[in-house]
């Protein structure tokens, strides 16, 4: 089974609202990463948070990590229509990057 599970599977919001996606994982990690995928394209790396970090920011993105609960969240503030995409968390398991199932975000103008 996949290392990461994400919820919700799909999220639809209005432009300007915040979007929160959650990721849970099973094994101990050194770091957790978030990626974005526009329809039919390759994934783009957004942010990496290390196991000794609790929160990290990058522009309108905020990622939190709770290693005791084995969970992470990605917050996109003041969303835009261009943020419409699928978002994946990923963790390293035995040297391989394993992805969660993804959250499909739709931002309506």
């Amino acid at each position: 089974s996949q290392q990461g599970e994400e919820d919700p599977q799909a999220l639809s919001i209005q432009e300007g609202e915040n979007a929160t996606m959650n990721c849970s994982y099973k094994t101990s990690i050194n770091n957790l990463q978030w990626y974005r995928q526009n329809s039919g394209r390759g994934l783009v790396h957004l942010i990496l948070i290390r196991s000794n970090e609790r929160e990290k920011h990058s522009g309108r993105l905020r990622v939190t990590l709770d290693t005791s609960k084995k969970s992470s969240s990605l917050l996109i503030t003041a969303s835009r229509a261009a943020d419409t995409a699928s978002y994946f968390c990923a963790t390293v398991v035995w040297g391989k990057l394993i992805f969660g199932q993804g959250t499909e975000l739709s931002v309506k103008p």
Binding site: G42, V44, H45
Partner: protein, 114 residues
């Protein structure tokens, strides 16, 4: 901008044909990967490589094979394509070492086997 390239972008072929999906990167990365992505979005690791002459099978069993003769090149081959091979194939690369697993992806090859 990621310097990793996949060709072709789209491929429609008949059952039984042999195909090779190309993947090249110009970043000098040691590690390279092939993922298969279902229509429902989930990505499955099918092959990876730590460097030249290193290839390993991923978590999802695949009838495809890979080779790594040069650092920058990681082609994937299907000897006899079947409709069950219809999928999106994503190639990626990264540096080697803990904390350096940030992946750079190509744009993908959408394969349709009729």
């Amino acid at each position: 901008e990621a310097d990793i390239y996949q060709t072709p972008r789209y491929l429609v072929i008949g059952t039984g044909k042999k195909i090779t999906l190309e993947c090249s990167q110009t970043m000098g990365h040691d590690k390279m990967y092939w993922y298969q992505q279902d229509p429902g979005m989930e990505l499955h690791l099918i092959h990876y490589s730590y460097g030249v002459n290193s290839t390993e099978k991923g978590d999802l069993s695949s009838e495809s094979t890979v080779s790594r003769i040069r650092t920058e090149h990681f082609p994937l081959t299907l000897e006899s394509a079947r409709p069950s091979h219809t999928s999106q194939y994503l190639c990626a690369s990264s540096e080697f070492g803990q904390g350096r697993e940030k992946l750079f992806f190509g744009s993908g090859t959408q394969l349709s086997v009729l």
